[in-house]
């Protein structure tokens, strides 16, 4: 690894220090729920309940949990095909999420969208974009909307390291900066696109360097440290609400599994994988909480057990849900009539 280039911001105000014990444990709960959800998706896929393909975010839970904590209910969030974590961190109903992955009528998109396209507008989850980079201009539009409406909302978009090479990223970054929009660009740098290492496709490993090209405020954080993520996100969100414009936050992280269901991820060095597994965000945070005397191992197990049972129950209910009707009015699904 090259030495990280510093971002332009200073996360040193330590917003996380102000979090209540409840909030801290809540973060653990969120990450654990996401992990258990993804593990269940994996199992359900093998059982034939999830169709086509699916992109899991195991190992990256601290990013969506940490950022979500900094947001209000009326903020806007957009993300990618690897978007289950973002949705759960915003409170998407577990059963509706599973039902969508299973292609059922009770899915959050009626079984029409699928694993890559979870959307729930009522939660500000404005969309999951399957085309790399495509969500960023949309997030800029939501940011413009927030600016125009004047209600101090922000628009956050999540994307991967591979997305910083596509044109849509560039156009969105520039527009957000020129118009000083309340947009937070969260780059989950998990070091790989599909199978290519970032240095194969980008001139450097620290993507905050990109932000410099737009004179955009930026932060480089340990994306496996949920409090560090929160520490970067909270002031960025505050600045955005105050009309001080966008921030680019790079979160260094790692996906535990392959790119998608069919990828055994053999292109990754086993030493690298080992090293990152040791940096598992949930284990690290659990150790933190234990050290701070906020949660015992037993407490942590309770959280996990609760998450597991919630997830299991939701998946079971989703698996029993009906298939969407083949004779439904697809035209009304497509167009407001």
């Amino acid at each position: 690894m090259t030495k990280p280039a510093p971002g332009t911001g200073s996360a040193s105000n330590k917003a996380a220090a102000a979090l209540s014990i409840e909030d801290r444990i809540g973060l653990y709960r969120t990450m654990t729920l996401i992990r258990e959800f993804e593990e269940q998706v994996q199992r359900s896929y093998l059982e034939g309940l999830v169709h086509g393909t699916t992109h899991l975010c195991n190992g990256q839970e601290a990013v969506c949990a940490g950022v979500a904590k900094a947001l209000r209910e009326d903020d806007y969030v957009s993300y990618t095909y690897r978007g289950h974590g973002q949705c759960l961190a915003r409170g998407m109903d577990l059963e509706a999420a599973f039902a969508e992955l299973f292609g059922r009528e009770t899915g959050v998109c009626g079984g029409i969208g699928g694993s890559m396209h979870l959307t729930d507008i009522d939660l500000g989850l404005i969309g999951a974009f399957g085309i790399v980079g495509a969500g960023l201009p949309v997030a800029v539009g939501a940011g413009l909307s927030a600016q125009l409406a004047g209600r101090r909302q922000v628009s956050v978009c999540f994307f991967g390291d591979g997305a910083v090479n596509i044109g849509a990223f560039h156009e969105a970054m520039n527009m957000a900066q020129v118009w000083k929009l309340p947009v937070i660009f969260v780059c989950e740098n998990n070091l790989y696109g599909e199978f290519s290492h970032i240095l194969h496709t980008t001139p450097y490993e620290d993507l905050v360097i990109r932000a410099a090209g737009y004179s955009m405020q930026s932060e480089l954080v340990d994306g496996n440290d949920v409090l560090a993520v929160y520490d970067a996100a909270a002031p960025a969100v505050a600045r955005a609400r105050d009309g001080q414009g966008p921030t680019f936050i790079e979160c260094k992280t790692y996906r535990h599994r392959g790119h998608s269901r069919t990828d055994p991820a053999k292109y990754r060095d086993s030493a690298e994988v080992e090293a990152w597994l040791k940096l598992d965000p949930i284990s690290l945070y659990r150790a933190d909480l234990r050290a701070a005397g906020l949660m015992s191992d037993v407490g942590a197990e309770d959280v996990a057990a609760e998450a597991r049972s919630l997830v299991k129950a939701a998946a079971d209910r989703a698996a029993a849900a009906p298939w969407p009707s083949q004779t439904q009015d697809f035209m009304a699904t497509m167009f407001v009539q």
Partner: protein
């Protein structure tokens, strides 16, 4: 050639007193202005649409009236601002974007085809995406191969977006107003060779609805000519000259490409038994093939001859004026084609 009937056919009560002679360009401006007055959630974005009033002056005066926030100059970033339109629409606004030349739709094709056209559908119909994309296209101005396309057929195969193409000031005005009120994405293809065309338009009218299909511009019993955009005038001219020879051609403006409603054309063909289409596009992939194929299935037994499609040649348009002129369908070619089928 204009009657109240036509105004009615576009779903509008005829209010003769407001009908004015205006240009196609003025019609666009009027539609934008009125709808922006009507709904504060509307806004327009595009390159140089602000203080400059638009490269083709189709936003003239809007900046002065609505200010920089609602009449917004963008960077040269079609993917960026077309994508932003989706974000605005999802969060309560009704964005209108201007694509300076329709040829540039290629730069933001993905945002239109994969994001805008599919977003509501993929959400299970749970979001609303009221977006208008206006793009100025068309040949005849010696702008060369990259600035002369109507792009009529580029998005013809993409479900999830409506496509309309006004051929005169009246429809430029009425259809754009209706498009802005529509809760779905609408691509409005305008033609730059028509910008100075004059005609009556019911300015100030409030009761507009999206037309459900083609519109008969000139009745006739001997042949049906269907055309779009700048080809409509050529078709009307052809009909006029045919008339002198005693041939009465019915001229239909296709005007709504998506969703395509061929029934009125089939009705016409059932009476005339002859169909000629005219489009300013290559011979393949365009609406005229769809029209022919549908008419054939709807009115098979009524056709006296195989329908003829008049199109651009199957290569890009050259710059040189005489070459360009020779390749764009002319009234003479249309009239000759009609006669060849009788």
């Amino acid at each position: 050639m204009r009657t109240n009937e036509k105004i009615i056919s576009a779903g509008v009560e005829p209010i003769e007193r407001v009908t004015q002679e205006i240009t196609y360009r003025e019609a666009i401006v009027a539609a934008l202005r009125e709808e922006m007055r009507r709904d504060p959630k509307t806004l327009i974005m595009g390159e140089d649409v602000g203080e400059s009033g638009g490269p083709f002056k189709t936003c003239h005066g809007l900046y002065e009236e609505f200010g920089a926030e609602r009449v917004r100059d963008t960077p040269i970033a079609e993917t960026g601002f077309v994508g932003a339109a989706l974000g605005l629409a999802l969060t309560g606004y009704r964005p209108i974007v201007e694509i300076m030349f329709a040829d540039f739709l290629g730069v933001c094709f993905d945002q239109i085809a994969n994001s805008i056209a599919k977003h509501r559908f993929m959400s299970g119909g749970r979001v609303k995406t009221p977006i208008v994309i206006r793009a100025l296209g068309g040949a005849g101005l010696r702008f060369g191969a990259q600035h002369s396309q109507t792009a009529e057929s580029w998005l013809l195969s993409v479900p999830g977006i409506k496509i309309i193409c006004p051929s005169d000031p009246e429809q430029a005005y009425l259809m754009l107003k209706a498009a802005i009120r529509d809760d779905n994405p609408v691509l409005v293809l305008e033609h730059k060779a028509l910008l100075s065309m004059k005609g009556p338009a019911p300015i100030g009218i409030d009761d507009v609805t999206m037309p459900s299909g083609p519109r008969v511009l000139r009745p006739g019993r001997h042949a049906t000519i269907v055309a779009s955009l700048a080809m409509v005038r050529k078709a009307l001219a052809a009909a006029e000259s045919l008339n002198a020879e005693g041939i009465e051609a019915e001229v239909i403006d296709i005007q709504v490409l998506r969703p395509l409603n061929v029934a009125p054309i089939s009705d016409s063909v059932r009476r005339t038994n002859i169909l000629v289409t005219v489009e300013e596009q290559a011979p393949t992939g365009g609406w005229s093939s769809d029209v022919v194929a549908d008419v054939v299935s709807q009115a098979f037994d009524y056709l006296d001859a195989p329908p003829a499609r008049i199109t651009l040649p199957d290569h890009p348009l050259p710059y040189s004026p005489h070459l360009e002129d020779a390749l764009i369908p002319s009234p003479e070619r249309i009239a000759a084609t009609v006669k060849s089928l009788l």
